[in-house]
Symmetry: C2
Subunit: 441 residues, 2 copies
């Protein structure tokens, strides 16, 4: 084959800048097309970026030019040509098209369903498998991937060992009313995990510092913009640690992940029209406030909350509307927290728990605290909560065989990503959201 017919190297659009002046091949889909008489501008996306091609009629075989000029949205094609720096172009580069191959032409009779016009949310969610190709959705999921990588890198580089906890759980972590039931073998029932925490308490006694990171499930009959039935959560747990360690690690983690997102996902945040100054402002030290003071602050701002009550979404938003970074609210009444919280030495009616409430109305992004390490107290709390000791036998064992003060927390990925992206609704933070009335596609 003569050199001029050799296939040029295939590149990713994201790498176009490294190939300026070179002949390359790009394989992708037609994102958009502008025409102007004897020239047309197919915009090609390949999943790593979008590049505008310049196809000049006089420079191409007539048949190819005609095909390109009428090409339909999302048709797949391979384009070849030279990369040229073009400061006015999105991404800074264009491709002068020399040849192209249409891989599959989307027929006019059955066009790509998602057009530049406005679509209703149900239509878009029904077409989620295609909607992911749109720029905003693509950007949000790239931010998600960066958040997840940031979280894992933080823990892996700070002495935590990843230990996956089971999805199939025999016992409930926080009550049974919001558990999904699975038909196991031989009429047996198991439940889908709501949290890996109880298991983390076992693994942190084996590894010192551990984290689990996987999907968790809540069967809540809730249709709010903050709820999914299936969501991902990271949960670290630390032996020989206290409430203060949770505050320190949670604060470090959030700052670490935000720095990563700002470093690597500027372009995606711009696509999402995110005000990045809001994220840049999130720096340590975060605000700190006791539950007592939080209640007073809320009352002074007009909330009807009374001491002893848990915060609703409105309270969380009210609590942070004058803040530029998260507030860590600690020492909640034990009555509103799960059975396993260590009580405060000074005021035993309070639990050594902390919630991190994000600004801009994104609500609780981290919840955690110190766990009970005393055997007798744990047994008492199980009984008070009418939880059967038999079901918790292994959990009780952890207080018999080398019990130590320990603490940890959970951070939900989707709510965190919504905050990073400035998204109104959590459903756009995951590829295929599962909700009360949504299990497809």
């Amino acid at each position: 084959m003569s050199p001029e017919h050799a296939t040029p190297p295939r590149i990713a659009i994201a790498a176009a800048g490294r190939h300026a002046g070179e002949s390359v091949e790009i394989a992708g889909w037609l994102y958009n097309l502008r025409r102007s008489g004897k020239i047309c501008f197919p915009q090609v996306r390949d999943g790593t970026g979008i590049i505008q091609c310049v196809a000049v009629k006089s420079a191409l075989p007539e048949e190819l030019f005609e095909k390109l000029k009428d090409l339909t949205q999302e048709s797949s094609l391979i384009v070849r040509g030279k990369i040229r720096a073009e400061p006015r172009a999105h991404g800074g580069y264009e491709l002068d098209l020399e040849s192209a191959e249409i891989v599959q032409r989307v027929p006019e009779a059955d066009p790509y369903p998602i057009t530049p016009k406005e679509h209703g949310i149900d239509f878009l969610m029904d077409h989620r498998h295609l909607w992911l190709r749109s720029r905003r959705q693509h950007a949000a999921l790239k931010v998600r991937a960066e958040v997840i990588k940031g979280i894992r890198d933080y823990f892996d580089s700070h002495g935590f060992v990843l230990v996956d906890t089971p999805i199939f759980s025999p016992a409930a972590c926080e009550g049974t009313s919001t558990l999904f039931e699975v038909n196991y073998f031989d009429e047996e029932k198991v439940y889908l995990t709501q949290s890996g925490q109880l298991y983390n308490e076992a693994t942190c006694a084996a590894f010192g510092k551990t984290y689990c990171f996987g999907p968790t499930f809540r069967a809540e009959r809730s249709k709010t913009r903050r709820h999914l039935t299936e969501f991902w959560m990271v949960e670290p747990e630390m032996a020989y640690s206290t409430l203060e360690d949770v505050k320190r690690v949670g604060e470090e983690l959030i700052c670490f992940v935000i720095a990563r997102v700002l470093e690597h996902r500027r372009e995606e945040l711009a696509t999402l029209e995110r005000d990045v100054t809001k994220l840049e402002a999130v720096k340590a030290p975060f605000h700190r406030m006791s539950y007592d003071d939080a209640v007073k602050k809320l009352q002074s701002k007009g909330s009807e909350i009374q001491w002893g009550g848990d915060f609703g979404n409105t309270d969380e938003t009210l609590l942070t509307d004058d803040l530029d970074r998260p507030v860590m609210v600690d020492r909640y009444p034990s009555a509103v927290k799960a059975f396993y919280f260590q009580p405060d030495d000074q005021r035993p009616e309070l639990a050594l728990g902390v919630d991190f409430i994000a600004p801009e109305g994104y609500g609780e992004v981290i919840g955690g605290g110190q766990r009970i390490h005393d055997l007798d107290l744990l047994l008492k709390r199980l009984d008070e909560n009418r939880l059967p000791r038999e079901a918790f036998d292994w959990y009780i064992d952890l207080r018999k065989y080398g019990s130590v003060p320990h603490a940890g927390f959970g951070m939900g990925v989707e709510r965190f990503v919504a905050w990073m992206c400035g998204l109104e609704h959590i459903r756009e933070t995951i590829a295929f959201p599962r909700m009360l009335y949504r299990t497809r596609p």
Copy 2:
């Protein structure tokens, strides 16, 4: 407080080497204890390592020495003293004990159940929450964490975007007989995913190269040493790719992960008494063999397999017993593969699939191939397999709107970890294994 009473800095045992000659504090559990008259040697583990302490009676308050001397296994304690290089010690360092604090003493009346004597596997699995503290189990799960990090790092650094696929699935990927059924809301049933592949085919059209990595579920009534009902799987998928790309990426991935394990987990492999020369031998290029030739080889070695049959465990072991690295067997009869495999152009009765079969009897570690991209062929295969088109409407869409050749594979974490660790049974590769008759702890 005067300087001599200041608490020394707390360190992890793994970092002891950086603190030789310094006073430090270590918080952990009593792993083992040797006594020799006026001296005793408490071995302390903290999850990062094990260090031997030297407690000399004459140098300590009498009460403390007596407490230490009779301390029970897995009691929690904090020790303080100077780190000293000691070439004969495990890990190379010892701690000359100056003071100690017993956090919780395990009572003699209810001792730690796992003793150095032999225990049966059921007993150990019933005490999995404690068994994880044992050296071999600890080592295997550290290898697992390294494998997972290696896999993620490989994909993250090779242009793949992590896109989590859903656990709740409306449709079956490979038949319904091995699906776990979940009671969703309002009498609705959903199923637990067996593979993210179908969804990956949607996301790779949006991102070019993607991977999902999460738990998957198979309701197989199988009690073999290779089966779990809940296991983790990584699945990459690549647009504009073919069977050959699967071979290239799978080979690269395996070599990358093995190199990581050998680089960072030598000590754990030694604990597991793994013959690392077997892992060091696993280098590209892997062996390559067609299904046709694999059947001939098996027959020549005495297997009763006939052309058209799928390989069982015995066949997989037989196929690799003379090999030092995996063999990639490709082009299986379509009849033994799932409906979505692209047929071979030359011999349409063959599927463009490939299995990577590991040496040493570890069996299939990767399975994948090229998917059907032609709409009409996909519809035909759905009908032939009696799969309802309605259930696959969104999957069919992917062939209507910019279809391209694409390919991918799945790699199960647990089987891979078993191979790395040289483990007989897959149940030791995950913290809390779920099997036919095992859902606790």
